[in-house]
């Protein structure tokens, strides 16, 4: 056998770890809350004072990061011969799970509404309080790795002298790394600005590793990888 040996390899999952976070989710529509009620005079004095602008609403939630792609499984190898001597190598390799993308930033809180207009005898109203920033987007989940395939090798031990030197490996694909949640959005401006939004949730675990495989020589399992 030549140096390359026999290799079965699953495809690696799409890797999104290097991608920039998703773009800004946009402002609340409209970006400014409604105006407060206008003042009204009562004859030559102020009757009803101008109202405070409406409090802004919370910003939009950031866009979630893309998950990593799932690695595909490696298929099995079956090698059945009578005469087998010399050096042989076999490998099945599950595809690696892809890394995930970080979550996007949350949207800015809505700007507090303008205060109501003044009248001849009343002052204008104060601006509304700004809305809190939006929650950051969820961090993406790392992709799961693909399974390794089994390897079955069979040869006639009476004919194969000296016996072969077999190098065989079954390697499951590793799970991809999960990514952080996005940063919370900025609070909206106002007479008392809104607070910053909470960060997006980060997945607790990376992607799962693929399932292992077993190497059989003449029907006997000589190595098993979980």
């Amino acid at each position: 056998m030549s140096d390359g040996g026999l290799v079965n390899k699953g495809a690696d999952g799409a890797d999104n770890a290097g991608k920039p976070a998703p773009p800004y989710p946009g402002d609340v529509d409209p970006p400014v809350a409604k105006k407060g009620t206008d003042a009204k005079d009562d004859g030559k004095s102020c009757g009803t004072g101008a109202g405070r602008g409406i409090t802004g609403v919370v910003g939009l939630t950031g866009t979630g990061g893309q998950n990593g792609g799932t690695g595909t499984d490696a298929a099995q190898i079956k090698f059945t011969v009578d005469y087998m001597t010399g050096n042989y190598s076999f490998a099945t390799i599950g595809g690696k799970g892809g890394g995930a993308q970080a979550g996007g930033v949350g949207g800015d809180g809505q700007i507090g509404g303008p205060g109501g207009s003044s009248s001849s005898h009343c002052g204008g109203g104060p601006q509304g309080i700004g809305g809190p920033g939006g929650v950051g987007g969820l961090g993406g989940q790392g992709g799961d790795g693909g399974a390794a395939g089994d390897i079955f090798i069979a040869y006639d031990t009476t004919k194969s002298v000296p016996p072969p030197v077999i190098s065989a490996s079954v390697t499951p694909g590793s799970g991809g790394s999960s990514a952080n949640g996005g940063e919370g959005g900025k609070g909206g401006a106002g007479d008392g600005p809104g607070g910053k939004g909470k960060s997006g949730t980060t997945p607790l675990n990376p992607g799962k590793g693929g399932e292992g495989g077993t190497i059989y020589v003449n029907g006997q399992p000589i190595e098993s990888v979980d």
């Binding site: 290799v7 079965n8 699953g10 495809a11 773009p23 946009g26 970006p31 190898i77 079956k78």
Partner: protein, 256 residues
Amino acid sequence: MSNNYDLVIKGKDGADAPNPKTPGKNGDPLGPAGNGAPGEGSLFGGCKKQAGVGLPGNRGDTAPPADSGANADDAYSLVLTCTAFEGTSLSILVAGGKGGNGGDGGVGGDGSAGGNAGKQPKQCTEVINGGIGGNSGAGGNAGNGGCGGNAGDVDVVCGPNLSPGILSTENNAGTPGTAGTPGEAGKVGQGGKNSDGTEYLPGGRSGGGGPGTDGTGGQNGNFGAAVDATKPPTYLRITVKPLLIARTGCGGSSAG
């Protein structure tokens, strides 16, 4: 990698999507028609007519979505039969093609500026607002990645005097194409000038484009090798069979 093999049986790669990153159209400028009419003072010292407000700016357009990458082809099928193979080694690559990458979304169009408030005469003291700026256009959606091609099932049969150990094979599933990057929103239009010279509110920011979907990887094929004592001494047959696994959820068209 494929240059190192004696025999390459590989599906065609899916084409990457064209990537012009086409932007959205900018909102049309208002021009002088967007400005408010001037106010009028009374000959007797009062304000006869307040100035008009400025018109809101025009919104930028959403950028068009990007194209998807093409799906790769599977490894093609092959039956190679030698009644008498001569040689000490034979290396084979069986592989699905790589899925094409999706295109990037373009930037959204810019909003245009709001119109200015009309000029107030000194008799009119109320502050008249300019127009709010136009909202920015949303970014274009990212294109989907194409799916990787499937490898094939490889079956090797040797005659009694030929060991399958002469073979070196690599059976690789095709890797998927990745989705493109969503486009960013355009710039917001500035607010028009209020009658006191200050600037009114800018337009709102739109969101970026939506994410695309990554392609999925191809499937890997089995490898089997055996000796058949009924065949001629140095007989060799190599068969590559397609996996015939339907691909679902793949965004692109076939590599063709």
